[in-house]
Amino acid sequence: MSVRYALLALLSEGSKYGLQLRQEFEDRTGDAWPLNVGQVYTTLQRLERDGLVESDGSDGPQNVFSITPEGAEELTAWLRTPPDVVPPPRNELVIKVLVGTRVPGVDVPELLQLHRRRMVEAMQDYTHLKGEMSRDDVELGLVVDSELFRIEAIVRWLDAADARLKKLPPPNRGVTGPRRRRIRLGVR
């Protein structure tokens, strides 16, 4: 997916060899996004096929790639396109908690706390990384921050779930009881 745009971005600075592209890609994503040589070349081939990139036609590693005007246009358009905010097909944690409230013997606050602790531990690992890394490493910092905000959102959801579930009456496990309203999750 966005590997192609990352490559277009690198080529927007000037013409480059394939291997050089791979190296620069890894440098900028702080090793957080490893990719292999094959991936770089297949992506370059597709970009060339689509007329977004052109090569000077040399063989193998000697091959130099450049961005075309169409490629530059496509890159700008992509940068300005908002990311997909539709929820992922299934949110595993939401389902676990919904299911958990229905399973006899499950202590839901304890279940929430277990997940909260795991999430905070994961955040500690990322924050530790942030504490150890050089403050000049802006690119790695951006990647780590984005992970921290993502996991923090899960912790906040757990806190909100805790508060919300306090209001839930004891589960109605018999066959009687009113039918609960069906909840549609963001399933695609």
Binding site: T29, D31, Q113, L114, E121, D125, Y126, T127, I151, A163
Partner: protein, 238 residues
């Protein structure tokens, strides 16, 4: 450095009785930064005021540097607070009639440090929080975030052994919040024992250990972290 043993705190009596802490055990070594997380009303501030000897527990023991606080005279306790404990209050608690630098220098001066030396130390602490230019301002001339950082400078100035901070980043944006946590963490790396109360998971994650409080009880805590090497390994997708 700090140890709470079976600490309980009951406010009020009869039907108005509130059990703010119920048998809390907590021990923080010098060099360790512990975060306390929990919902509003779970007893976080109560824990901190008791650890800071500002209040007495209803039952249980508080030890600071191996000394039982209950056995200390009022004077000893006051000296301990002035000299060894840095405290950041939830509402900053700056003295309105004193400028930022005077607020920061005050605990040192109360402790007998000469005015000039205290001022120099205070200015340095303010500079570390990017507040050198605000040193002569009074609290009502500072923004909420600036006041908060002045309160933190006041807590870390001098030779502290115990740092206690109650929501120290409440009024700060994420950049300044991070700077404060880096400062607290580096103070702890130098041997200070630190306890920071927060419900912000990002800030708590700067701590070596996170303790979870609920209805006055410690219900859980994080395991010691093995280190982040595995995080950005090949295959881990950002």
């Amino acid at each position: 450095m700090l140890e709470l043993r079976g600490v309980s705190k009951v406010y009020g009596a009869g039907p108005a009785e509130v059990h703010a802490m119920r048998g809390v055990d907590l021990s923080v070594r010098g060099g360790e930064l512990v975060a306390v997380m929990g919902p509003s009303g779970s007893g976080k501030s109560t824990l901190l005021t008791i650890a800071g000897t500002l209040e007495e527990p209803t039952s249980g023991e508080v030890l600071i540097g191996d000394r039982d606080v209950a056995g200390m005279s009022r004077n000893d306790r006051a000296r301990l607070r002035r000299r060894s404990i840095g405290y950041v209050f939830q509402d900053f608690n700056l003295i309105p009639g004193l400028s930022a630098v005077e607020n920061v220098a005050l605990p040192l001066e109360l402790d007998g440090v000469r005015v000039k030396a205290a001022r120099a130390a205070a200015l340095e602490a303010l500079a570390r929080l990017d507040l050198a230019e605000r040193a002569e301002r009074f609290p009502d001339e500072l923004s909420g975030g600036e006041s908060q950082r002045v309160a933190i400078a006041r807590a870390v100035v001098g030779e502290r052994h115990l740092l206690l901070a109650d929501e120290p980043t409440g009024a700060l944006d994420s950049v300044n919040g991070e700077a404060v946590m880096r400062l607290l963490r580096s103070a702890c790396r130098d041997g200070v024992a630190g306890v920071v109360v927060t419900h912000d998971a990002q800030l708590a994650s700067w701590a070596d250990r996170v303790v979870f409080l609920r209805d006055g009880r410690v219900v859980d805590q994080t395991a010691t972290r093995p280190g982040p090497e595995s995080l950005l390994a090949p295959g881990a997708k950002p």
